[in-house]
């Protein structure tokens, strides 16, 4: 400030309130003498209020005590004269409280004002009041409440044509989101603000929006190039309206931006420009800041002498205005520099200075109530995110309704689809069941090959005829066990491997008895297979074994052998049925000569069963047949390999 400025300042600080006090005192004294009407007293009070307001505008933040005094005088005056306290006075009280960082008093007072205004018709005044209230809420850290109020108030301001408040609310919203950590939302609001301000040709808010956008994209998004674009646009605009204050700040950011992009020389040039400009317009904080930054740039460039010079200059400048924020980081940077240079004494000195500034800053923060807000902010932080989100939903009620309608629609469509699906599924299931029943019966027929049944009974009869009681009994009980097993198994579509094995054993035993040891058999089982736990489709293997015996081995001259093995593979069991019979080609020839097709049914049923099992369980049952050759290259049997997927 210039000398005249300082003079004026001091004058206002001391003289004005004194005058006011005198006036009030005079008013008080005249009360018993002349019959002043209540209206007059009211007018006096109103005059007093506008006086305080003027005082506030002129004096700024610095003379809190004076304003307090004036305020208490006004309250005293109202009480003395038995006047209702007008809301304007409360408003003033709130504003002063806000300035002094007494956010809770400010908030409570503004709530009173708003209550009063609710009864009045003055909508514009209401909008203004709410605007101030949101500002207070913001400071209190009541972000969600502030956001919702700002949103409604913004709309009302727009409806009432209060452009400035509209834009201010928009700015507040953006600011709120930014502080709440939702930079995306914040950016969006700044963009809207930019558009709306441009529409209203309001350069102040345009520059503000551009400036903040630059800050956010630079800091939060880390997009330095885009940030620079915003700052450049902001600078242009500020230059147009000669907003020197803004120009200085933008230059400051641009320079820092360049520094971050490692364009140190360009940054230096900008900082120098900023210093000359800021000195001209008495932006001492910025001067100190720029000097410090130049110091840091030189430090990074390892020009330590220059760095030292600029650091000391900046410290001097910052000390002059007691800019603790600047002093803090400059001392820290300087300390770092000295530490890297090995000058621990100086490093220590600067570090102590840094600590001192840091502590006083913290204290100052507490004093202004900022810390309180911050603490509250931290407590609210987790809740806030959710609140902000739910808020966004509730603010746009139509959206809620629309989404509800959509949900209902989706449910309806879904229900219809499900019904449709169920119907078709039911149809499919009944179709499947029919097939299963068909196949199950086929199973039974298949297993109970009439030839086999009656030939077995015939053998039993033979033993009876021979009076071999024990042999008859053994044969008969084996046969009944097999029938029991088959009846049991055919009730299920899948059975444990153990059950299939048991049926196979019984079947092979009986065939062996029937053919009088014309062949031997062996069943080899992988120990890895848990025969009780793993399930396979019912009676899948027996038909292939029967084929091996009845076509391969029976027609063979000399001893035959059938070897069945089960091996565990990943995801499936591999079953190999191998015989050393006459081979498929020869068997087919014999069948042709017999000119009967009694066994073609067997393979057909098995094939349709394979398909059914595969569709039912979505598995991939696979059967491969190989013709084997003996050492001389003659056909020497058949090998059937079945890959049985494990079923749950």
């Amino acid at each position: 400030m210039t000398n005249t400025g300082a003079f004026l300042f001091i004058l206002l600080l001391y003289v004005l309130p004194f005058q006011v006090l005198q006036e009030i005192a005079a008013g008080g004294r005249t009360l018993p003498q002349t019959e002043t009407t209540r209206e007059d007293k009211g007018a006096q009070l109103n005059a007093l209020i506008s006086r305080i307001r003027q005082q506030m505008k002129i004096s700024g933040k610095t003379d809190a005590d004076t304003l307090h005094q004036m305020l208490s005088v006004a309250y005293h005056f109202a009480k003395e004269n038995d006047l209702n306290i007008p809301y304007q006075l409360e408003w003033l009280k709130a504003e002063i409280a806000l300035q002094n960082g007494n956010y809770y008093l400010a908030g409570a007072t503004m709530e009173k004002v708003i209550k009063v205004l609710e009864t009045s018709e003055d909508q514009k005044e209401m909008v203004r009041a709410v605007n101030l209230y949101t500002k207070i809420l913001f400071r209190q850290g009541e972000f969600s409440k502030a956001i919702s109020l700002s949103q409604t108030n913004m709309k009302r301001a727009k409806d009432l044509g209060m452009t400035n408040i509209f834009l201010e609310s928009m700015n507040r919203l953006a600011d709120l989101y930014k502080t709440a950590g939702d930079t995306r939302e914040s950016k969006q609001y700044y963009f809207i603000l930019l558009d709306d301000a441009a529409a209203e040709k309001d350069t102040f808010w345009m520059t503000e929006a551009l400036f903040r956008l630059g800050e956010i994209t630079g800091k939060a998004d880390g997009n330095l190039i885009e940030a620079r674009r915003f700052f450049s646009a902001c600078l242009k605009l500020a230059e147009q309206v000669a907003d020197t204050n803004r120009i200085c700040w933008v230059l400051n950011h641009l320079a820092w931006n360049l520094y971050l992009q490692d364009k140190k020389d360009s940054a230096l040039i900008l900082y120098r420009e900023l210093i000359s400009l800021a000195t001209r317009f008495r932006q001492k904080t910025l001067v100190a800041n720029a000097l410090g930054n130049i110091g840091t740039i030189y430090r990074d460039k390892k020009e330590f002498l220059k760095a030292e010079k600029f650091y000391s200059k900046s410290i001097e400048a910052a000390n002059e205005i007691r800019s603790l924020t600047n002093l803090q980081w400059i001392h820290l940077d300087a300390s770092d520099m000295y530490k890297s240079l090995g000058d621990y004494e100086k490093a220590y000195y600067h570090y102590v200075q840094y600590k001192l500034c840091n502590d006083s800053l913290k204290k100052a923060g507490f004093d202004t109530g900022l810390a309180e807000a911050r603490m509250k902010y931290e407590v609210d932080q987790q809740q806030k995110e959710l609140e902000v989100l739910s808020l966004k939903l509730s603010q746009q009620k139509w959206f809620t309704y629309a989404s509800a309608a959509l949900v209902i629609l989706i449910i309806l469509v879904g229900l219809l689809l499900i019904r449709q699906f169920r119907l078709s599924a039911r149809r499919r299931i009944s179709e499947m069941n029919r097939k299963i029943a068909e196949i199950t019966q086929a199973n039974l027929r298949q297993q109970m090959n009439p030839h086999f049944i009656f030939n077995t009974l015939n053998s039993i009869q033979y033993y009876m005829y021979q009076h071999d009681k024990v042999a008859t009994n053994t044969y008969l009980t084996k046969f009944s066990s097999l029938i029991r097993k088959i009846l049991d198994n055919s009730r299920h579509t899948s059975i444990p491997v153990a059950d299939e094995l048991e049926a196979l054993h019984l079947y092979l035993e009986l065939e062996k008895l029937r053919f009088k040891d014309k062949f031997t058999y062996q069943i080899e089982l992988d120990q890895e297979i848990d025969t009780l736990q793993y399930r396979i489709p019912t009676m899948l293997i027996q038909p292939y074994v029967e084929n091996a015996i009845c076509h391969g081995l029976v027609n063979k001259e000399g001893p035959g052998h059938v070897h069945i093995s089960f091996a565990m593979e990943t995801g499936f069991i591999s079953c190999i049925i191998e015989d050393n019979g006459i081979g498929r080609e020869a068997a087919r020839e014999i069948n042709r000569q017999k000119s009967s097709n009694h066994n073609s049914l067997g393979t057909r049923i098995t094939q349709s069963r394979l398909d059914l099992v595969n569709t039912l369980y979505g598995t991939s049952l696979k059967v491969t047949c190989t013709d084997l050759k003996d050492t001389t290259g003659q056909p020497g049997g058949t090998r059937v390999e079945i890959h049985i997927p494990i079923m749950a």
């Binding site: 009681k469 024990v470 009994n473 053994t474 008969l476 009980t477 009944s480 066990s481 029991r484 009846l487 049991d488 444990p496 153990a498 890895e528 848990d530 009780l532 736990q533 793993y534 565990m568 990943t570 995801g571 494990i646 749950a648």
Partner: protein, 253 residues
Amino acid sequence: MSELLQTLVVDDEPDAVNFIRSIIIEYCPRLEVIGTANSVKEAAQIITAKHTDLVFLDVEMPHGSGFDLLLQFPEKHFDVIFITAFNHYAIQAIKFSAVDYILKPINIHEFIQAVDKVYEKRNKTPFREAQFHALTENLRKTPPTRLAIPTSEGLEFLNTGEIIRIEADRSYCWFHLTQGRKILVSKNLKEFQELLNNRNFFRTHNSHLVNLDHVKKYIRHEGNVAVMNDGTHIPISRNKRDLFLAMMTKMSR
């Protein structure tokens, strides 16, 4: 043991009764047939009148099943060998209660074995009453729930729900029950797996059979482990993993 076992044969078909009597006379010299009956009523009369050690009892008869006969004499201490042609559920209940039975048509070897077993067990099992109780309970329910397990003291009857898991210990196995109870059983794991197959029991591993109802969670890392309600970690072999998961999801449906 020189004394002959007083034996009663009960079957509604006279031919069947005669056949059994013939087998006894020819192959079982230690049994003495004191009577035959073609119905539960007749059989009850004989049991009331005469001392009876062993009853061959057909399960399915037109007027009251063989089980009804047992219910009439809860306090009598005679052994029973059930004979049945084909009744899936009855066989299951009989097996679950560890009661002896033979199937029709009768295999002579099996018949002799069953009689030998009665001799072996005689005077060793004072649990007959409990066993018949379990049997009647198991018959009432499908599937049966009271499982007889042979312990060092005799038979113990467990609800399948009590069993958290069974662990093989050479040819024995340990039953781990709810409330931290633990019983050593003189049978191998496979026999119980057979009994409990299709009953929500799963052989996760060579030496572990677990009750899927008591599986708390499944841990994929650490090489596939099922955590049981009693907090134990049971390994699941690699081959069984998919099947195990499939069963678990089927259950939770």
